[in-house]
């Protein structure tokens, strides 16, 4: 179960259209078709009523949508926390030292720091 496919599903449910979802997701319509069919296979239940007029969520589809959104929220939170944490550790520190003081004074401190946070540019 690929999280990306849950996004596909949520987008299709949003627009009630495979084609429109394929546009906003920047994938082709058959890929969406197959992904949804695959989801239905994995979950063992149809998610949309396809026959007759407009595309429509089944009861199962409605239940899945609600929960899929929670999964997607949780996942987005995961990536957000991670990028925050990486920015914190991957930044850049600039230190201006007046020529009179001389940099030797800082060198040990700095090298210790760089051992702990090798990704931070000083």
């Amino acid at each position: 179960m690929d999280i990306r496919h849950l996004e596909y599903f949520a987008e299709v449910a949003q627009h009630l259209s495979f084609t429109k979802a394929s546009h906003t997701l920047h994938v082709t319509q058959p890929s969406i078709s197959k992904a949804i069919k695959n989801l239905e296979g994995e979950l063992g239940v149809p998610l949309f009523y396809r026959s007759s007029k407009q595309l429509e969520l089944t009861d199962a589809g409605k239940a899945v949508l609600i929960n899929a959104k929670k999964v997607l929220d949780a996942f987005q939170n995961l990536t957000l926390e991670l990028t925050d944490l990486m920015e914190l550790k991957g930044g850049e520190i600039k230190i201006g030292i007046p020529p009179i003081v001389g940099a030797a004074f800082f060198s040990k401190l700095i090298s210790q720091y760089k051992e702990k946070f090798p990704l931070i540019e000083i």
Copy 2:
């Protein structure tokens, strides 16, 4: 990002061992190795300290673990709700008809019902 791989990661983090996790997950140890390495690639950050003594979570690993559990909980909830809903719709109905009455009387009713709920066995 396969949800299954988040389970792999959670299990490895639980045991702090690829091998033990591979046993409880019923997959081979190299598959776990590769899945974790793949996760680290997708997330762009190492999740474990591998060198030296015992396996240990990195800071990023700790953050991912907390959020991965939320994702997994949400996903489990999805499947639980779905199975509840399907059990409701996928049951079995037994109708006893006395020979005197004859089943012809019910046939139209039953066939209409089966159209609506094809998963229910009558």
